[in-house]
Each structure stands twice: as structure tokens, then as C-alpha cells.
């Protein structure tokens, strides 16, 4: 007697399913119309398919692309960086000044700007934001932002004027105020523990969109703020966003994401694999591949490991790597071959393609000189040790497994074995911190400021090379004093020309010492439907949906 009711409920459900199918079939499919541009249309819902769910929306955690893709819609910044010219322009700050030593920056704020909870975006709120980003907040577990260097304290001069003080010159700070990591949020958001900022609904910004609802790990709905009227001063579009709603749906499976776009179920998708690009463009959809202007997708060495501590070995592996073959085989023209540690459109880039030229014979010669002799199985050995290296696949990097396997084949030709491991996150994280386990690793980071190179290699930041005193306790010896001195000098220069020269020296040093093998300039690849207009990207490839409008006609 317990069963009839559920059974009835279920059969009703089945009937409803059947009915729904029929109704859907009658509804007919939407047809995508050819774009004609024209006058922007206000209203409508944009369906944006993301590959991964966001993790934490504390603005300095915006480096993870799914996080940045959300933060860029719900927060504004003090300044706006033109993605073409990289010039810094007014946004929430109308104007700014700095002292010649670059240890003080004063910002004059625009008036009338409010957070979506109604509180004003004033000097006090902005000061609290940068105190948190510059110093962190131990009590709430909020970490320091990697884009702010040498921060000391803030000073509220008047309700709309705020001044920031630095311990030493901080030339990257102005650009830092334009990055995702410096999105301005309300005091109520900063009062929450770092943990609680995983819930998007807790992020109160002053951006053109607000978070309306969230299904954890699955879907996020953003709504346009009707009273928004403080876009970047130079933006073509002013006033509220054209769209009413943005639905961000997590769609992990590549083929489903691309297929949904082509079938008219989504309007914009992030992460299109290079092998799908032709199909997408073939159906008149648009591929967008903004560059990330930072440190290229690279293989980095951990010289603390004896196998790669000899510069000749590293030099040989650099020469053995044929990046043109990698890009031609696996990628499309949206993935330029790397010609330096930095991407071509990064500030301070110098062309080092001569030093990076593929040369198998030179590679063999260098390995011979270093005393590595080819053994019976074709792998080089020295003092009983095999030149066999282990690397973990990096999931966020596009087709990284294929890239590493191809590189492994190239290295095999000069007698070096490269084991490519997939590995669970736990082993990968633990092993990646241990130069003995992983003498080589994959690294990449984007930011449109010369400081990006410090972020990547400085031991107190990302520490890609694993130096003594950096992120790993396992490192025994390796320190590159010269590199660290150059990095410290670069982030504290007051003369912009001198700073760019430092960045050039750093790139030369990294390649001369063969600490890095740059492979390609990593873009963010998006695809959009033909009726979508006005999509733009900030300087390192996060989408801005503010000016987007749909003409489904």
C-alpha cells in the first residue's frame, strides 16, 4: 500500500515528459539570421557557455579565466586600459597624479557612482579595496593581489579623493588599477571571509551587471543594472548594458559546447579547440582569439634537479624543441609561435627568435659536450643516470597533452626521454613543488604590464623555476641572483624606458640561461553567433559583455 502514490506520481511525470516532447517538436527550431550590424537593440538574454565553473570571486583571484569572465561584468575598475593601445584611461577615477618617485598615487573619483547595494563608491570604499588587495587581510584569509607591488597604505583625502602610498617605487600600480584583480567591490563584500566569496551572490560591485541567481557549479544569471551610467570615459557605449540578462552555463564537454552554439542553443562560448575552429567559421560563426599579452605558454626548467642543472642540457633541449612543428601540427593561426618569453603584444617584448631557432645537431652536440652519451636504448646516460624527465600535463592550457607528447617525440630524437603524466590534482600539485619529481613544468600567465614577468619568475610570486626561499620547501640550492635582481629592479623603476630595458634584459637572461622554452602565444579563443554584436575584450582576453547586443531579427 506504500507504493501506489509514488507510482502514480511517476506515471504522471512520464506523461508530462511525453507531452513536453510533442510541444517542443511543434515549437520548431530557431534559425540564426545573417548579421547585418545596424542599430544596437536593447534587451534580450545572452547565453554564454563556459567550460569550467568559477572558483572564488575575490577580485585578485580573477586570474582563473572562469572567474575573470564573471568579475569583468560585475565590477568596475579605477582605470580602463585600452586593449589596443594599452593606454590607461579614466573610469571610476576621473583623473590621477603621481609623484616623480612613483611612491604616491592620488585618484580623483567620479561622483554619483554606487554599488548595487546602494552604497556609494567613494574614497573610503576605494581605500579599503586597495588596502585589502595590497596588504591582504589575515583575519578574513584574503590574500595579497599579485598585481600590486610595494604597497604601504591608503589615505582618504576627501570623500572623492584617495591617495595610495608605497614603500618604494611602484611603476606597475597604475596599470594594476585597470586589471581584473583590482575590481572595486563594496565594503560588505570585503567584510566577508575569503571562503564566502566563492558564492557569486556575495560579490557586490558597481559593474553594469549584478548577480541575480546562482546554481552552484552549474549556472549563473546576471542582470543588467538599469541605472548604470559610469562606463569607461572613452567607451563608445554609455548608459545601461544593452542586454537584460546573461545566463552563464557551465558546459564542460567540448563537443557539446561547440555543438550547442552551432545549433542555436548558445550565443557565445569560451574555449574553442583549434580543431573545431574551421567547422565554426564554416557555418558563419565568429572566432575571437584575443591574446593574453603575458608570459607565453612555455616549458620551464627546475634547475635544482641535477639532470637539468647544467645550462648545456637545458640549451640542448631548447634547441631540440621545434615550436613551428607544434603549432603547425596542433594549432591554428590564432596561436602564434613564441619568439620570446613574452608575447609580441606584451610591453617590453624583444624578438629573440634567433636564439630560439630549432637546431637538432646543435642539441646533440651540446649534450655530447655535457657528457651525456647515447645508451643502448637510444636514451642518453651519464654516470649511470638516464636523461629521463617527467612533466605533468597542465589542464588549463589548450591541448597541453598533445603539445607535450609532440615535444617528447622531438626530444627523443636527441636521446632525451620525456614522460608526460596526466596525474590527479593531488599528486600533480605535490610533485610540481618538488624539482626532483618534476624537473620540467608547464607555465603561462597573462597581464598587460611588464610586471607580468616578475609575477611568473620571482620566488615570492609564482616562482615558476622553483628557487630557494620560494614556494617550495624541497628546493636545496637553486637561486638565480641575477634574475631576481633584474626582477626587483624592473618593478621599482621610475623611468619607463629603463623599465622596458630591464624587461628586455630579463628575457635575454631567461633564454641565454635556457631556463624557459617558450612554445606559443596563448590566446583565449571564443566563438559567437552571427547575430551577436559589440563583443569586446579587456587587455588580456576576458570578455566584456557591456556593449554586446543581439539582433536575432
Amino acid at each position: 500500500m506504500i507504493f501506489p502514490r509514488p507510482v502514480r506520481a511517476v506515471s504522471a511525470g512520464v506523461a508530462a515528459l511525453a507531452l513536453a516532447t510533442i510541444l517542443a517538436a511543434c515549437g520548431g527550431a530557431e534559425t540564426a539570421k545573417q548579421a547585418d550590424g545596424g542599430v544596437p537593440v536593447t534587451g534580450g538574454t545572452l547565453v554564454y557557455l563556459e567550460q569550467q565553473a568559477h572558483t572564488n570571486l575575490y577580485p585578485p583571484s580573477g586570474g582563473f579565466y572562469p572567474n575573470g569572465g564573471i568579475l569583468n561584468q560585475i565590477t568596475d575598475k579605477l582605470t580602463f586600459q585600452d586593449p589596443e593601445t594599452l593606454k590607461i584611461e579614466p573610469w571610476l577615477a576621473e583623473s590621477w597624479t603621481s609623484n616623480p618617485e612613483l611612491t604616491q598615487y592620488t585618484f580623483k573619483l567620479r561622483s554619483g557612482v554606487t554599488f548595487s547595494d546602494g552604497t556609494p563608491v567613494d574614497a573610503a570604499a576605494v581605500a579599503r579595496n586597495f588596502d585589502t588587495y595590497g596588504l591582504g587581510n589575515k583575519a578574513l584569509n584574503q590574500p595579497v593581489s599579485e598585481v600590486i607591488n610595494n604597497y604601504d597604505h591608503s589615505e582618504v583625502v576627501d570623500p572623492l579623493t584617495v591617495r595610495f602610498h608605497f614603500k618604494k617605487s611602484s611603476p606597475g600600480f597604475l596599470q594594476g588599477t585597470a586589471t581584473i584583480g583590482s575590481g572595486i567591490v563594496s565594503i560588505s563584500t570585503l567584510d566577508r571571509k575569503f571562503d564566502e566569496l566563492g558564492d557569486a551572490r556575495n560579490i557586490i560591485g558597481s559593474g553594469p551587471f549584478t548577480v541575480a541567481s546562482e546554481v552552484l557549479g552549474k549556472e549563473l544569471v546576471l542582470e543588467a543594472r538599469k541605472d548604470y551610467n559610469w562606463g569607461p570615459a572613452t567607451a563608445k557605449h554609455q548608459g545601461r548594458a544593452y542586454l537584460d540578462t546573461v545566463k552563464i552555463v557551465v558546459t564542460p564537454e567540448d563537443s557539446v559546447r561547440t555543438g550547442s552554439l552551432l545549433a542555436g542553443q548558445g550565443d557565445l562560448i569560451r574555449q574553442v579547440q583549434a580543431y573545431d575552429e574551421k567547422q565554426v567559421e564554416g557555418q558563419n560563426f565568429t572566432i575571437h582569439a584575443p591574446g593574453t599579452r603575458g608570459v607565453n605558454d612555455s616549458i620551464v626548467f627546475r634547475p635544482d634537479n641535477a639532470l637539468v642543472s647544467d645550462v648545456r642540457v637545458r640549451q640542448a633541449l631548447l634547441k631540440a624543441t621545434d615550436t613551428h612543428e607544434v603549432v603547425d601540427t596542433i594549432f591554428s593561426e590564432n596561436y602564434p609561435v613564441a619568439t620570446s618569453v613574452l608575447a609580441k603584444d606584451a610591453q617590453g617584448y624583444v624578438d629573440l627568435s634567433d636564439k630560439l631557432r630549432h637546431d637538432q645537431d646543435k642539441a646533440k652536440q651540446l649534450l655530447d659536450e655535457a657528457g651525456w652519451k647515447v645508451g643502448a636504448d637510444g636514451i642518453r646516460t651519464k654516470d649511470g643516470a638516464q636523461l629521463s624527465l617527467t612533466i605533468y600535463e597542465s589542464l588549463p592550457q589548450p591541448q597541453n597533452k598533445a603539445v607535450l607528447q609532440l615535444v617528447a617525440q622531438q626530444w627523443q630524437k636527441v636521446g632525451v626521454k620525456l614522460n608526460v603524466l596526466a596525474g590527479d590534482s593531488g599528486s600533480k600539485t605535490v610533485d610540481s613543488l618538488d624539482p626532483e619529481e618534476t624537473p620540467v613544468s608547464v607555465a603561462m600567465v597573462g597581464r598587460a604590464d611588464p610586471d607580468v614577468i616578475k609575477s611568473q619568475f620571482y620566488p615570492k610570486n609564482r616562482d615558476a623555476l622553483l628557487q630557494l626561499g620560494g614556494s617550495s620547501q624541497k628546493v636545496k640550492r637553486f637561486v638565480d641572483e641575477r634574475l631576481n635582481a633584474l626582477l626587483e629592479a624592473e618593478t621599482a623603476r621610475t623611468d619607463p624606458q629603463q623599465r622596458l630595458k630591464d624587461v628586455a634584459d630579463i628575457q635575454n637572461h631567461l633564454i641565454d640561461q635556457a631556463l624557459v622554452i617558450p612554445i606559443f602565444e596563448e590566446p583565449q579563443v571564443f566563438a559567437s553567433a552571427p547575430y551577436l554584436h559589440g563583443l569586446s575584450f579587456e587587455a588580456v582576453g576576458r570578455p566584456s559583455l557591456y556593449g554586446v547586443w543581439l539582433n536575432k531579427g
Partner: protein
């Protein structure tokens, strides 16, 4: 009966505690932990000192036994802890995912039962030997269809080509059709196989010959006399299939981008989100206990002879 139930409840509590403890021990034995995985990620740009502070505030480096007691006490009071990766309480995550999985797994199982019954009946009633053989070999075919592939094919055909069912933001009921079908196919195969075999067995029983001699048609005898008796072994298998149901749900949820316990578990495993895994393991153990209890209680309803046996035990 009462003692029987009490016994079963005692067993269930023991199973749940064991599952909790084993999960805790195994999770501790893995290299790394959720905090390491989340905060060592270079994209977070944290310094070692900051990471140490965060670990401290989570109590990550307190003695293991204390951590065990803490989290056990938490479970007993309904506090399932905090998901390090998602930054929300585990209870919230379960609330967001369990209903969706229940709907998927429940309907998937129901569809599998219907499909299996249909296959078994058709096989039994098939008028020609070749047709019977063909139908009987269906389960072997179905069991070897990879769930992942089936999901993609269904999406390609019904969603992208025929445009009948959207994968993105479908209405709830409509959105269940393809995932349910994907999940049901591999589950139905072992059920159908057992059902076919046991129908064959029951058919050789004397009471079937009696029913037949009274002039019952093939279909009538099957539905009125054989089916009820043949269903018991299939029911036993059904209880065991729960595990497969969970496994299938992981893949189905990933392919269709549905939220649910399956994809929650997969992500938690990836990130070693111990609190989430701990909760999922206990939840899965509870589901197993409940389903098996339900199956045991169903036996006497279907077969009165078993009722007397349970009666004798009490």
C-alpha cells in the same frame, strides 16, 4: 518484525560509521589535500606565508585524530563541513545537487526496468527462434555501449540535428529525457538478462504446465503466472545496480552539463575536497542501505512464502 527492523537499523548505523571512517583514512593517505590543491595553484598568486596562514585558519595541521573526531561530531550534528574548492558549506552543495541526481537516477532506473521488461517479454513471446535469439542478444549489445558515447550521439541527433530537445537550459522535464535514456540503456542490460533467464526457469515449473493445460495463451500465462515469480532474482540484481547507477550518473551529468552528485563527486575527487567526498560517501552508503532494505522488505510482498519465513524469525 520489530526486532528484525531494529537489527537492520543497527547494521545500517554500523555501515555508515565504517564508511565514514574508511573514507576519512583513505582521504588522509592521498598525496596533497584540498587546501594545497586550491591555494598552491599559481593562478592564485599566493606566497608561502599566506598559504601557511590559510592552512592554519582551516586547522589543517591539527593532529589527525582530533580532525577525525571534529568531523565525526560535525556529521552527527548535521554540520557536514565546508567545501574548500567551491567556498560554500557542503550542505548547500548537496541541496543543489541531490534532487537533480534523484530525479535522474530514479527515472533512469524506472526506464531501465521498463526497457528490460519489454526486452524479456518480447524475447519470451517471440514466435520465431531467430527473432528470439536476436532479442536475447540485445542485452549484451546494450551493456557494451559506452555511456559517454551514447550521450554524445543522443545529443547530436536529438538536440543538434533534429533540434527537438535543447541541451542548454532545457525545461526541467524535457531536459531529463536524453540523460535518462543515456543512463537507462546500460542499466537495463543486466536486468533484462536476468529476467529472461528466470522466465525460462519458471516456465519449466509444473504450475505453468497446469496453467497452460487450462488453455491459457502464451502471453496470458506469462503475465499472470510466470512474471511475478520471475521477478525476484531481477529485484536482487536491481539492488546491486545502484552502484552502476551512480557511475553512469557521473558520466551522464558531465556530458549533459547537469548538476548532480555525480559531477560533484568527480570534481571533489579531482580537488581532493575531503569534506565533500566524506559527505558523498556517507550519502552513497545510506542509499545502498536503504535500497537493500527496500528490496528485502519487498520480497515478502511479492512472494507470500517468504513472508512466513520472516514471520518465523520474529
Amino acid at each position: 518484525m520489530q526486532r528484525y527492523l531494529l537489527n537492520r537499523i543497527g547494521q545500517a548505523v554500523l555501515v555508515l560509521w565504517a564508511a565514514f571512517t574508511i573514507a576519512f583514512v583513505l582521504l588522509q593517505a592521498l598525496p596533497g589535500d584540498a587546501l594545497l590543491i586550491k591555494y598552491q595553484n599559481p593562478d592564485m598568486g599566493l606566497s608561502p606565508a599566506e598559504i601557511a596562514d590559510i592552512r592554519n585558519s582551516y586547522g589543517a595541521d591539527t593532529p589527525l585524530f582530533l580532525q577525525y573526531l571534529n568531523s565525526l561530531a560535525g556529521f552527527l550534528t548535521g554540520n557536514l563541513g565546508y567545501s574548500v574548492q567551491a567556498g560554500v558549506p557542503v550542505v548547500d552543495q548537496l541541496a543543489a545537487n541531490v534532487p537533480s541526481t534523484l530525479a535522474l537516477a530514479g527515472l533512469g532506473f524506472l526506464a531501465a526496468v521498463i526497457l528490460a521488461t519489454a526486452i524479456a517479454f518480447l524475447a519470451s513471446l517471440a514466435p520465431f527462434a531467430w527473432l528470439r535469439n536476436a532479442i536475447e542478444s540485445l542485452p549484451s549489445l546494450l551493456v557494451s555501449v559506452p555511456v559517454f558515447w551514447l550521450g554524445i550521439v543522443l545529443i547530436q541527433v536529438f538536440s543538434f540535428r533534429l533540434k527537438l530537445i535543447p541541451v542548454i537550459n532545457p525545461p526541467e522535464a524535457l531536459g531529463l529525457i536524453l540523460p535518462v535514456a543515456t543512463l537507462a540503456v546500460p542499466i537495463s542490460a543486466p536486468l533484462a538478462q536476468v529476467l529472461i533467464r528466470s522466465i525460462d526457469d519458471v516456465r519449466t515449473q509444473p504450475f505453468v504446465a497446469v496453467a497452460r493445460s487450462r488453455g491459457g495463451s502464451n502471453a496470458w500465462v506469462l503475465s499472470h503466472h510466470v512474471a511475478r515469480n520471475a521477478v525476484l532474482p531481477a529485484l536482487t540484481i536491481a539492488g546491486v545496480l545502484l552502484g552502476e547507477l551512480i557511475g553512469g550518473a557521473v558520466v551522464t551529468e558531465t556530458v549533459f552539463g547537469r548538476n548532480g552528485v555525480g559531477q560533484l563527486t568527480q570534481q571533489a575527487v579531482n580537488n581532493q575536497d575531503a569534506a565533500v567526498l566524506q559527505a558523498v560517501v556517507v550519502l552513497a552508503a545510506a542509499a545502498f542501505v536503504l535500497v537493500n532494505l527496500a528490496v528485502d522488505l519487498l520480497y515478502p510482498v511479492l512472494d507470500p512464502r517468504l513472508k512466513q519465513k520472516t514471520g518465523a524469525l520474529t
